[in-house]
């Protein structure tokens, strides 16, 4: 056998063996080792090439070609085996990383706003967007702001119906009380305007806690009201209706029909109770609206001239409307909450449920 034939046979042999090993390789690490073993600087192919020096010069290009062909074949085989393995390995890895996607996610515990707060925020936001300024007032009030200035003198029958909480007064101290409505903020806001040398227009929304000495299934001694008023030249009953219509539709997130019924409040003239089309039966009549299709939601009217007079606003020049609404009542209607007491029991199961609805 000539030197060249022997080398060829050797290369042939090497290739056969290598291809078999490549095919058998179980992971990419083994393949990497095989690459080094066959194609590396100190690899087998290199050692075979060492024999080339012994060949006669005319044979050398022939064997060179042969060696290159073997090298290419091995390299290609290695690349192919590697590609195959990496697909297989990825599949294995994916299988190994398989999880139960239905397990709950990692979350921080979520807090919730009290439903009354939510109602409060929604309502003041609506009025605020409409252009009403936000005002606040004290909850411990005096008789002037809570009654007298609102045209409810001491002997007025309406005063008795307010179920007022009074404070222990000592000596000649003027009796203080817990405000029975948010209307005193109306007085304070108008007074502040006049005292600062200003004059209407005034458009104010005031929200807060109010108190009535009444505690049973449908009454809470503390609840929340939102008071809204506007004083300007030529403010009309039609404007009151416009604002009410807009607010009630915005709050209930649908076009609710409204109805104004003549009523009596000492601080407004004319006065009207405001009904909305029953939200439970869509105005058709049900148990909750006692078949009438209407539900009373708030009291309203044109500010009585005596109220304007009490704060020094000229009622022959200015007029205004005002209304006050019970936050709990509207929240109960909007969310179908059956019992007022739920708001102040603060059962976190109730609060969480009401919080998740928004």
């Amino acid at each position: 056998m000539s030197e060249i034939d022997s080398l060829k046979a050797q290369l042939q042999d090497l290739q056969t063996k290598a291809l078999a090993l490549f095919a058998d390789a179980s992971d990419s690490k083994v393949l990497q080792e095989l690459r080094v073993a066959y194609l590396g600087k100190k690899g087998e192919l290199t050692s075979v090439l060492k024999g080339v020096g012994k060949l006669p010069p005319e044979d050398r290009p022939v064997i060179g070609q042969f060696v290159n062909a073997t090298k290419t074949a091995l390299a290609e085989a290695l690349d192919k085996a590697e590609a195959l393995l990496s697909v297989k390995e990825k599949e294995l890895r994916i299988e190994a990383e398989r999880i139960d996607v239905t397990l709950s996610g990692r979350t921080a515990t979520q807090g919730v706003l009290h439903p009354v707060q939510q109602g409060f925020d929604e309502m003041t936001a609506i009025f605020s967007h409409m252009g009403f300024d936000i005002a606040e007032g004290p909850e411990v009030e005096d008789e002037f702001h809570n009654f007298d200035a609102l045209n409810i003198p001491a002997e007025h029958p309406a005063r008795a119906s307010h179920d007022t909480f009074f404070f222990h007064a000592e000596g000649d101290e003027e009796a203080k009380l817990l405000r029975t409505h948010t209307s005193p903020v109306q007085i304070r806001a108008m007074q502040a305007c006049v005292d600062a040398g200003g004059e209407p227009p005034l458009a104010v929304v005031a929200a807060g806690r109010v108190y009535r000495c009444d505690y049973d299934v449908t009454h809470s001694p503390m609840f929340h009201q939102v008071e809204v008023f506007k004083v300007d030249k030529d403010v009309s009953l039609a404007n009151l209706k416009g604002v009410l219509q807009h607010f009630l539709s915005a709050y209930f997130e649908k076009d609710v029909p409204i109805r104004l019924r003549p009523h009596y409040f000492p601080f407004t003239e004319p006065s009207a109770e405001v009904d909305i089309g029953c939200v439970f039966c869509n105005h058709k009549g049900c148990r909750i609206c006692k078949g009438s299709g209407w539900i009373e939601v708030l009291g309203s009217g044109m500010i009585h001239p005596n109220v304007l007079k009490a704060v020094g606003i000229d009622s022959t020049v200015y007029s205004g409307f005002a209304f006050g609404l019970g936050v709990e009542r509207l929240v109960m209607l909007k969310h179908g909450i059956p019992d007022l007491r739920l708001f102040f029991e603060n059962d976190v199961r109730f609060l969480r449920r009401m919080g998740s609805s928004t």
């Binding site: 007064a169 001694p221 019924r261 009596y264 603060n346």
Partner: protein, 785 residues
Amino acid sequence: MKIPLSWLKEHTPLTKSVAEVADDLVRLGHEVEGIETPRAGVKGVRVGQIVEMVSHPDADKLKLLKIDLGDVEHLGIVCGASNMVEGDKVPVATVGTCLPNGLKIKKGKIRGEVSFGMCCSEAELGLAEDADGLLILPKDAPVGEEVGEYLELEEAVLDLDITPNRGDCMSMRGIARDLAADYALPLIEPGDEVVTTDDSVAAPTVAVTASEDCPLYTACRIEHVKVTDSPDWLQARLIAAGLRPINGVVDVINYTMLDLGQPMHAFDADTLDGEIEVRLAKAGEQFIALDGKEVALHVSDLVIADSKKVIALAGIMGSQATGVTERTSNIILESAAFKPAKISTTRRTQALVSDSSMRFERGVDPAMIAVAMDQVAQMVEGLFGGKVSVTTSVGDADSLIKDKQIQVSMKRIESRLGVAVPESADAVLERMGFAIERHDDRLNFSVPSHRHDVSIVEDISEEYARVIGFDNIPAVMPSLLTITPRKLYKAVDAAVAGGFIQVINYAFISVDEQRLFVADDGEDLVLFNPISEAMSVMRRSMFPSLLNTAKYNMNRQQTGVSLVEQGRVYAGHMREHTETNMLAWLMTGDVQQDSWFEKTRKADFFDIKGAVELWLSGRGLTARFMADDNVQGLQAGQTANIFVGKSVAGVIGKVDGDVAKQFDLSDDVFVASINLDVLHAGKKAKFQPLPEFPSIERDLVFLFDKSTTSDAILQSVRKACGQQLVDAQIFDWYDGKGVPEGKVSLGIRFVLQDVKRTLTQEDSDKAMQAVIDVMSQKFQAELRG
């Protein structure tokens, strides 16, 4: 007020159905609280005639009756009553009927005799509280007819809530007037038959010394009256309108009050001494009211008196001793005008309410004083006999009854209503009793004596609004834009984002709860008329109500709660008090539920502190927490004051174990509160260029005495490192194995950076050495490994 429809029809010929009338009343401003058909329960009770009556063979007190109901066969009924005779007509409840008292009539055997129904008394029909014997119906009652129909028992009664300004509508006549005006029907005037007076009866002598409060007082005397029960029809009317029959004379007075709106009073003339005086009460005078209540009179109370005693609190209630009873034979009738404010004040201070005071307070029509007097005198004479004197009258009736004149501008009314007023509205108002003259824009308005509530232009605008109908007023958005620019902080929102559940508690708590956290310094605001002891003082700390809420929830299957409340605390005196806006947190029990990725653990101080810090940082504020062992209700060693800037903004700590136990809370309870009113606005976020040069992170671990606070350590660290320190944090805290008793190993992580250049290893070494030196000098801290 209860309004039987049939009674209204005596004042105006209504033809509409009760439902229509109710709707129209609502439109006119009278709230309809309900429509009742109170005696619908007597259906099946018919007029029967007793055609045969024999005694029960086995029982003396029972009678066997044969009843003719107009049917082919007569009905056999066993009856225990004794006030009937053969031929009488009585109400007969047939088998299957259910009576108002719930009794269901069945065929039954009484002592061996079969009974096919029951003859009824007034009580059994729900017409009276009690009765002896059967209700004997008039001779002309048609046999077989439903008794309910015959007695008009099944009619509808409207329950109206009359607003306090409409005293004129607290009568059938008043309501009828509004309806008649609206429907363009005539209002039937009360009868004008004159009472025949008898000169032999002396008219009462009356002196009015308090003429300011009693502008008109009229009285007449009726002698030889035989007071019996009032007739059935009258009693039925009173019951339908919600009043109890008492005796004939009182019933007639009440009937007339409901009918015309004028409250009157009757005295037993034989119990009076001397002449009648209308005056203010004298100091120390006493009075026993009709209802038996002993009243100590105030000198401001208006009273009716004789020469010896007070006989009535004017317009509110008569005295017990001078009232009319079945034994009365001579009476004095009073019909008067009293000033509403006077009646209201006495009603309030004496806490005495009556149907009479309700009307006088709201204002009655002085035009009815004489009319009602005539009606009562006539009815008493007609029903119970007697001779009537002429009426004594003190005061100027004519000036009381005179119409008020008001000039108004129609433009002004239209601008207030936002709608043009049609001339047709005038006709409706005129039917209500107003007189209107139009001279272009100017209106001369004549207000009748029954409308006390109308005196200014705004009142007239309301009358027009009612007549036009609120439904016919358009909805017009006004121009609005008066917002003063300001930033609104919604304090509670950020706390909720931190995982807390917002609660809203009553602002009043018990005094005992107050004392748990606030010492008694006389600054409590105590309610005079609390709902209960548990709600008697305005809270000065947010913690008691939060603890109660925690208790409520921990008793309801919660293993832990994180609560937040925004509200006010209140303190001070009547002359000066403060209301402070607070935000308060409470944590107790498990901080989270066991989950597949994390096990539950109990809340501790640093949970709530983290919540407070997170909340503050959301507002751009940082706080320093300074330990304070003397905060009432909180545990020493786990309590701190929260400083924002130089002011104490709040407190944080662990609730004293004994206090927590009082609220049945067995886990540690942590609370914090922040005074929202002392917080300044916080720094506005300001742009800074991102750092150009890299930062270096270094860690040092020291052994400190346990008493050294991290706050003090970090402050010294900051000073030692100077400008280049971006951040320093405690990243490790360890007092376990290998750490000597009383010591703690603290790891501090430093982030160093320079705005002008890249820091070198030497720079950071220098900074670390400065820290090591300071820690050693200041805290004798020893560097570990």
